[in-house]
Symmetry: C2
Subunit: 116 residues, 2 copies
């Protein structure tokens, strides 16, 4: 996956796609995507931050709009900062079924909601 330059990726192979900061530092990897069934848009990348940013091993849903695919690096690039990630609304068990949580999360990250 990480060296692929194919424009398409299988949903089976998303696991492990790397995520880099603007400075090129490796900051984590995508664990899985959450897809809006009605529109077919990827809504969130659930990222694993392995000790990144002092968070310890953690998984956090990041709105897709915060990630840009970079074919040169073979991964995603983001301008996320530690403050943004740590300040995001806390995830709960049913976050993916909670429009209020979703709205607050998108507002926090400053990206448009995906469902309109």
């Amino acid at each position: 996956m990480t060296t692929s330059t194919h424009p398409l990726v299988s949903s089976d192979n998303v696991n492990g796609t790397d995520v880099y900061g603007r400075d090129g530092a490796h900051i984590g990897a995508i664990d899985h995507l959450m897809i809006d069934k009605a529109s077919g848009k990827v809504a969130y990348a659930v990222m694993g931050f392995g000790g990144f940013l002092g968070l310890g091993e953690d998984y956090r849903p990041v709105p897709w709009g915060k990630l840009t695919y970079d074919p040169v690096q073979g991964g995603f690039v983001t301008d996320l900062t530690e403050a943004e990630v740590q300040g995001a609304p806390e995830r709960h068990d049913r976050w993916y079924d909670d429009r209020d949580w979703e709205r607050r999360t998108h507002e926090h990250y400053g990206v448009p909601i995906y469902w309109i």
Copy 2:
């Protein structure tokens, strides 16, 4: 999966989502999705047609625009016909990396291409 009414689905759980015809008949299931990394749009659902339409067990990439998610049925609905599926451009090993094949396939199915 098939009974879920969540608006979001994990890329890990797409496998097995049912696909129904307009008449409600079960015609196959999604094996995996092919996602356009740059835009985050689902480009294709690769569907398994288990003996559907006389095709025998077969996997065919269907443009996302041919599928509509129906929360009531908990699956996707399509108006695909046997003639459309059988007449689609033949898949080859590198179809997911072949814009010409992709263009012909979208033209065949009468849906807009996803990459513009």
